[in-house]
Symmetry: C2
Subunit: 330 residues, 2 copies
């Protein structure tokens, strides 16, 4: 049979077969080559990647985060902070939420002082609302959001570490400012910090919220926030406050666990006093804390229950700034 | 039809029906009563249960742990430590691994000084082996094991907190003594602590092991350990060392994550100098650290790879001993 095949139509058939075979071989070699190129680098120890990635457009949106900073009447602080934050490793992009209604964004000045390490987008707002920063911005490409108040400076070391912690606890708000609610015999809740009595579970204190003015959280929660009952949005608009408390309620309800993970900052600074605008933050208002207690109770009504949970986990970076922070006293 | 039924066979049928109906009603009431008793207590805020449970035989084996303490030639320290550890809340039972071959256990004395808060079981060993403590003891009822060296005192506060942390990270070794391995250009590994250079991933130090001489881990790992290659057991027997390094290899391989979670102790003490036995621990031997580096490399051979992973997460208890440990410097 074989010889028969070879003979008819003879040489022509043989050449076609040869050509066909060659093409197949070449294709196979190309595929093999492509596969080899796709092979992952075998690393002996799988280390978390804390090295600074070269800043390219394609910095992985899983390994980087978007800074969202809302600003009102403190453009001098904003610009000072932008110079600092724009250089944080693993920053993908900055979204500035411009609450200075009717005022031009400093785009010209910004561009004239380029190039900049990352893109910075100025989102002009039409109404000065506290919850403007919780929109699900289309420019947001990363899974992680870093939200910072426009008067808060956190060191790059703290941010790099906290981001790595967030990557291990992506469903939580991982940040630097813990707060708590407490229950009172009357059933009315109160909001506060360490000055309030401990919730009384074993030793030490507990926190039930991590404020979003200096924290990492999953960008999906912005979409969740938009879907919350209108009463929540109305409450935040009424008080121009409590958006962070509302976010903690949302996250706690979603996870069934404590909403936040507190990372103890080594170097966190409030630059409020440094502003030339004469404007000091909302938290100076006399009614600020009372409002927040009010918000806690309103949110409990809206959500028909208290979803916040306590935690006493405080995370620090091992051996930073130096090994003395864990040296065994034994 | 109904009247027809009622009439035949008349009164007898009526009484039977009445009896039957009564029985059914009573059974239903009993069932309803039982269901009510089984209803869970509705708690407003689901707090982690750090309160001390009354010590009954039925202390939940999920909410309690078993202390396993191996002892050799330091019975005075053992008894001192037992007085301390027997009173730790959430302790279920103590298992003392008696490596004093041929020597009687202090059972008479122990009983004469009863009653004791929890059962203490003395497991007499036939050979003085370091890995005796890693047997899967039948007396072990809890999911959690607390393993302590017989010269180490950790405060009740630290233990209660670390146990609560373990409950949140049950697949990890949660403990108080972090160590690391480092890679060298030659590919040979070295073992050490903070005195070794940082592994070089971002800032600060990293640890890749948590020693089991002061740590919580899942009791299932004891069974896993027994199933490890004979070469692992032989290595530990050869060195009378490294059982803890082997356990970290095991856990890291099992989870694909860093084996340990380091909880920074507030009060941990080594009582070695307090013993009257004149015996000082194995770690004083000149070759101790070199042996441990040796073990790391041997285990890499046995497991055909380095499974240990680095972590820089250091956990402390929020607001304990006091709120100053997290007070915001802003």
């Amino acid at each position: 049979r074989y010889f028969h095949f070879c003979k008819l139509p003879g040489r022509v058939m043989g050449i076609r077969l040869l050509r066909f075979t060659s093409v197949v071989i070449i294709v196979l070699l190309l595929v093999a080559g492509a596969l080899t190129a796709l092979l992952p680098n075998i690393k002996d120890d799988k280390m978390p990647n804390l090295r600074r990635e070269p800043k390219t457009q394609s910095q992985s949106t899983l390994d980087s985060f978007t800074l969202i900073m809302q600003t009102y009447n403190r453009t001098d602080l904003l610009l000072k902070l932008l110079n600092h934050y724009q250089a944080i490793p693993q920053l993908h992009k900055v979204i500035v939420v411009w609450n200075n209604i009717g005022e031009k964004i400093p785009e010209e000045m910004w561009n004239s002082l380029g190039p900049h390490p990352v893109p910075v987008v100025f989102k002009v707002q039409t109404v000065n609302r506290m919850r403007n920063r919780l929109q699900n911005f289309p420019e947001l490409e990363t899974k992680a959001v870093l939200m910072m108040d426009d008067d808060t400076l956190v060191s790059a070391h703290d941010l790099a570490f906290a981001f790595s912690v967030w990557q291990q606890f992506p469903e939580h708000i991982v940040g630097f400012v813990p707060r708590k609610h407490i229950s009172t015999p009357s059933g009315v809740y109160s909001y506060g910090s360490f000055e309030l009595q401990n919730p009384g579970f074993g030793n030490g204190d507990q926190y039930s919220m991590v404020l979003i003015g200096a924290a990492f959280f999953h960008s999906g929660y912005l979409e969740d926030f938009q879907r919350q009952p209108e009463a929540v949005h109305a409450l935040i608009d009424e008080t121009q406050n409590c958006d962070d408390i509302a976010m903690n309620f949302l996250v706690a309800k979603h996870t069934g666990k404590p909403s936040g993970v507190f990372v103890k900052p080594v170097d966190i600074r409030n630059l409020e006093k440094d502003t030339n605008s004469g404007y000091s933050g909302m938290w100076h208002r006399a009614e600020h804390l009372l409002q927040r207690s009010y918000c806690v109770n309103k949110l409990v009504n809206i959500y028909d229950g208290m979803p916040l949970k306590y935690s006493n986990i405080m995370i620090s970076q091992f051996g930073f700034p130096n090994y003395a922070n864990h040296k065994n006293k034994m």
